[in-house]
Symmetry: C2
Subunit: 343 residues, 2 copies
DNA sequence: GTTAGCACTCTTGGCATGAGAGTGCTAATA
DNA sequence: TATTAGCACTCTCATGCCAAGAGTGCTAAC
């Protein structure tokens, strides 16, 4: 189904106008705002046709038109002008990253803030993860009696800690020896490559406690490849008129809970390379049926990578969203590349 | 100012009724609900007197009465029955803690959930901190070229990490030697006790990089004694009728931002031992003028400690709040004591 | 194919109205 | 003297009505 040029132009105007006014757009106001060489009556005819195609609807008989989910989809796929950030906009963003410290976590947080502020919607960013996590180094620190702190450093350059309890009291010296032994045996291996129980020297009780914990930590880390994202800008989004009623607001507040989002982000939609857009009912059933995601991957091919994007009402400035998400993702990727290559 | 017994009883009924109905309470309904041996006219007279004292008000001429902030204060200080959790309630809470793992962070998170669920308001819990932080142990792990990961374990049993950049490339062996040397010199000291530059052996460039970072981490840790609290149950609270309008909801959403709360929690009000209550305009000027805090400290005297409590509208079930906050604080304290003493 | 014209529909805001809840005051009562 | 019955009065809230405004769909003319 491809629309005639004129019909497409009208749909694009409807989408544009609705995106920025949030009120249904009528035939009259459309010809006034855009120097269409047409009368409102003609536009009405075209609108009726667009409605037959299922691309727009009215909320009630005497109201203007609003895009349907299919209308947005058509707009995004066929009508939306390709837009990149102006160099002014790019500079503003870059500047913020240069202000920040060189810590990866801080960049990720900053990316979320930038997206939320620029797009007035919810920004989602996950920490970068390696799909394959290797144990780099483990360390044991004496705490009290039979307790010790286990610190595990993994190849995705994160350190994790956990308190362990041994059957008997272990002093620092014994702990260090134990750590050395385990580092030799398990270091630089993925969980899958850990020597099986039979093959390796039989493990003592103390070893077993540590290995169990390490295995568990690494597994969690791998499973957390899609971990709960950082969520910024909830208030920005809720200020939009679609959330003006407190019921809708409460429901939405529930929908943007980190824990709920973790499973709901349509990461399947993200292919390689470009920005993915998931609109309204293209989402899996649930509370996101009236919202859209604009998502991209960032990070190093073969290395650590994460996801970032925006979530907002279906009435979202898709052009701006795509441009911002793409640019911020490129910036993050570039920063990670430099970090990895040591400048 | 002390009220007559009867007037006090009436005030208490007004507060109780208003807390659970959220609508202004009239003289008529008051005599109906509580077998007061009085006519509504008498109650009206008493109400007029209470209003003269500034303990209650009407929203408009023909509405029932609602407690003023001073009214709540009087209620809380002089009228509210002392209430402790029933053993059933206690058991339910304890059960949840026993289900959880033995990790401190998890307990803290759980405490927040329990409070939020039981009280239908926002729960606030800070991680326990030692006021005096000592360096327990530091470790350096080679990353790439001249970069290394610094892991610092402190006495408040937290591990912290940071990426360092050395002027020259350092291999793991050199890093370990360096770490050992620094552990010997700085281990088990607070920042204040770190040997001054002059006294200690002159530091090389590499040492300096590490020491600077460690000092910075410890200082941050000490300053973070009041860190951003865990916030749970925002949605629970926003369901209450006082937040029914979306404007109020947005303002409140802003007020319960972790970063904003960190500075706003009236921790000064917390004396030793018991639960502190801060009502409405007793808060410092700002967005919390219509809300109340119920707060307590938890943790070991002289050891790590933190704060926990609830934030809600001034119309809050203070009795329940106090009982829950007190109990959860006791449970956490007890758990920490056991952890510290090794069961 | 386009457009002018017009009847029709639906929302929205303003306004009046009446029921309901509650108050304050006065005068009678215990 | 404290309490209470009674009553006029006030204010909110829901309801219904009306007029204005915006927009549509259809028909007939260009």
């Amino acid at each position: 189904m491809a629309l005639s040029e004129r019909r497409g132009r009208i749909l694009a105007f409807i989408v544009d106008d609705f995106i920025d006014s949030a009120t249904p757009v009528g035939s009259q106001s459309l010809v006034e705002r855009h120097a269409l060489g047409l009368s409102s009556a003609t536009v009405r005819n075209e609108m009726a046709a667009l409605e037959d195609e299922g691309l727009i609807t009215h909320p009630h008989t005497s109201a203007g038109r609003i895009p349907s989910h299919r209308g947005y989809r058509y707009y995004v796929s066929s009508l939306m002008p390709e837009r990149n950030l102006s160099s002014q906009e790019q500079f503003t963003i870059l500047h913020q990253f240069h202000q920040a410290s060189g810590q990866l976590e801080e960049w990720v947080q900053l990316a979320a803030s930038v997206l939320a502020n620029n797009l007035h919607n919810v920004a989602l960013v996950t920490q970068p993860r390696l799909l394959e996590v290797r144990l780099k180094h483990l360390q044991l620190v004496e705490l009290l009696d039979n307790r010790a702190l286990l610190v595990v450093v993994t190849t995705d350059s994160g350190a994790h800690q956990r308190t362990l309890e041994f059957p008997v009291t272990m002093h620092q010296e014994a702990l260090s020896r134990l750590a050395n032994r385990l580092n030799a045996e398990f270091g630089h291996k993925t969980v899958a490559e850990f020597p099986s129980r039979e093959r390796s020297a039989p493990l003592g009780e103390a070893e077993l406690v540590v290995v169990t914990a390490v295995t568990d930590l690494l597994l969690r880390e791998e499973q957390a490849a899609v971990e709960a994202p950082i969520v910024e800008g909830v208030r920005e989004m809720l200020r939009q008129p679609e959330f003006g009623h407190s019921d809708r607001m409460l429901d939405t507040l529930e929908a943007v809970d980190e824990r709920r989002l973790r499973d709901a982000i349509p990461s399947g939609a993200m292919g390689e390379g470009d920005v993915a857009i998931v609109i309204g009912d293209e989402n899996r059933p649930g509370p996101y049926q009236d919202m859209s995601f604009v998502l991209a991957r960032y990070g190093l091919p073969g290395g650590a990578s994460g996801m970032l994007g925006v979530l907002g009402p279906t009435r979202m400035a898709y052009g701006d969203a795509v441009a911002n998400v793409r640019y911020v993702s490129d910036v993050l990727t570039e920063l990670m590349r430099r970090l990895h290559e040591g400048e």
